[in-house]
Symmetry: C2
Subunit: 461 residues, 2 copies
Amino acid sequence: MNNIGPDYERFAAVYEKKEKDLLKDYFNFLRIPSISSEMEHRQDMIDCAEWLKDYISHTGLEVDIWETTGHPTVFAEYNLAGRGKPTVLIYNHYDVQPVDPLDLWDSPPFEPTVRDGEVYARGAVDNKGQTFYVINALQTLLELDGKLPVNVKLLIDGEEESASPGLSAILNQRKKELTADHLMIVDGGMASLTEPSVNLGARGVISMRVEVIGSKVDLHSGVHGGTAYNPNHALVEILAGLRDSSGRITVPGFYDDIVELTSREKEQLDFSDNEEAYVSMFGVKPAGGEKDYSPRESSTIRPTLEINGISGGYSGDGMKTVIPARAVANLSSRLVPDQDPRKVGKLVSEFIEASAPEGVEVKVRVSQGGGRAVRVSPKAGVIQAVVKAYEEVLQAKCGFLLMGATIPIAALLKEVSGADIVFMGLGLGLDNIHAPNEHFGLDRMKMGFITIARTIELLAD
Amino acid sequence: MNNIGPDYERFAAVYEKKEKDLLKDYFNFLRIPSISSEMEHRQDMIDCAEWLKDYISHTGLEVDIWETTGHPTVFAEYNLAGRGKPTVLIYNHYDVQPVDPLDLWDSPPFEPTVRDGEVYARGAVDNKGQTFYVINALQTLLELDGKLPVNVKLLIDGEEESASPGLSAILNQRKKELTADHLMIVDGGMASLTEPSVNLGARGVISMRVEVIGSKVDLHSGVHGGTAYNPNHALVEILAGLRDSSGRITVPGFYDDIVELTSREKEQLDFSDNEEAYVSMFGVKPAGGEKDYSPRESSTIRPTLEINGISGGYSGDGMKTVIPARAVANLSSRLVPDQDPRKVGKLVSEFIEASAPEGVEVKVRVSQGGGRAVRVSPKAGVIQAVVKAYEEVLQAKCGFLLMGATIPIAALLKEVSGADIVFMGLGLGLDNIHAPNEHFGLDRMKMGFITIARTIELLAD
């Protein structure tokens, strides 16, 4: 274990002095409703990118906005570290998830509120909170030392929650700007602050929208019950048919391209489950995976096919005896190496369309975005630096995990930058990211700040 | 066929003279958003009942409002026909279905609009239009002759679209007021005006709400995909399991109490299907029923179990990679003689609750309302009178059908009144009842008016 040293102390002292002002800026950042997936927030996305550009311009980094076919990307860089110094590319995102159901929020999602040392707001963690401590760690290093010990490139995506289609499309044009030695994806978390970890991999993802189309108009379920094929029935039958009773996905070819971990690779990773802790945190048993794999395996080294949303007819209280004209579902599949998102999307959508019963029409639209899974070695320099920084900041041994979630852009960035990659961050399981009452601890804002500052220093050594 | 006679002519002449004023009143009736299933319309229900009381009070009938545990019932009567004259009980309802999805209406649902001789509004047919011609036929008979040839009781329900729980509960207390010789349920329709028909039966109904409860909060489908059991998956698996591949309901005991029609009974009824007409009207094949029965049989003499609504997670455009904390579905089962609604509700809900996979909780709430199926003989006096009236008005032979829909209160009213029953009305398949753009023809308003007036005269003979 590393002892807390002078390097840690100087960052902690600066942070404490600045904290009040930093939180004001953080709250202003959180107040911008930058929901990338909702068209009505298009201007908010532009406003948020402009806010960031202005904010970063005061740090000493050169900052620019990259237009994309979607929402803009914010890019900043520092090139004055000197000959032979490595270049670190840091990835964050400023877009956030939608906020519904709004009535489950205890305080408004875009009005940050502090309760018991936690900041409640959409994006508090994911990923405005983590973006914010990265920017301020760099600013403080520059302020304290007059320079950075490594070259830094800061890439802040505006479409991570929508699978980064715009940024993905321009990566190859921006290859020169993005070339780096180390790539830090600061959009993750760990199981607990007392058992810190860095992630050696993320799953990929591909999304689909299923639409079942029946009659021209909604029909009366008394008059037409037994005559019209109810799109709700067709939809539940089709979706239920995607998994067998062991939880295995039935789509032919779905598992074909998976590369299994060797037992040696498995040993380096923590696959331990704590069912009791899971039940206590989430109120349910972790029983959703394949019967042949443990929950932790099912959520990291196995792919999934989840129904993220389903809707058809009248589902409110009271009765509306209707056979709806259509029913829809949003699906997403998490992928593991070496599944190809486009191939999986095609396999699943063709299987679904072929399952349409007579009397309805079924259409599947595979989303434009999507990304491959990524895995890295625990020996990479950037991994070692982050492990050391976490051990200093959190005063606990840092382990290795695989991540169930996806940073859709990660695989592409790794390729275009040519860098080793680390997935890191101070999110915790109970932060409610993507859900009502998302929150981030004031203590973790400080920890993140110091971790980034220390990692930058360590990468210069 | 009956020729158009002087009785027909005198009613047609009066109607034509009054039409403009009648439509004004009809439109005012339609403007009241009397949606019985939505709590926010509670005051509108009271306003609508008061509007009717005031309107009927000008006809010469004595009118009263019956309070119930739910929305009020409007009751009116005429007792001066004289000794030995029969009593006719006529049933309508003033409540309407919800209007969503609102964006599919071409004109506002509560602002009646005439296009091509059709009145577009929620309730235009079901059942404000048919209530309206009944009231005005009675008023006109009284105006022309100074009296009615039979005693009349007019019962206008405020909860038909919600299965009439309030009225059902007070029927036995109101037995004296409701005793009658003939019972006319004027809330139905026919296949076409050129092939008129009356209905000799209606299916029963029982409704349920299914709730699948997972984790305490919505979860991230990357982090928890493969760990948490997605309530959407549990719901589609459970609902898909309610029917086998032949369309037969799998719930044990579901079909036990069905009394099959004899072949003689079947011969008197029209079970003909017209697939081409169905496809042209509704845009789909009538492929939703049991494989062992024709569409017409499936929708009249066979029970159903329909998913009227389903909802869970984010089903809008764009992505929200969530595992929702809960998912819900509204189900309804149409019943045939002699299925018991309570028994079927219990069988289905117990089957569903027993299907819950580990990792979620499943709760089913059976609705308070519900009603048994009803069947009557084509020889009943009230049937014969209505057949004659339709043949005069529509100048075509009138046949016999069974109805797929339910008038939940019908079985109870038949029992408490001691009367023979007829299901009648001028609704047509393309009227969009229970759907956006519900509409009723101005020509049918007139036909309904004359049919009621003539039926009342014929029942006095």
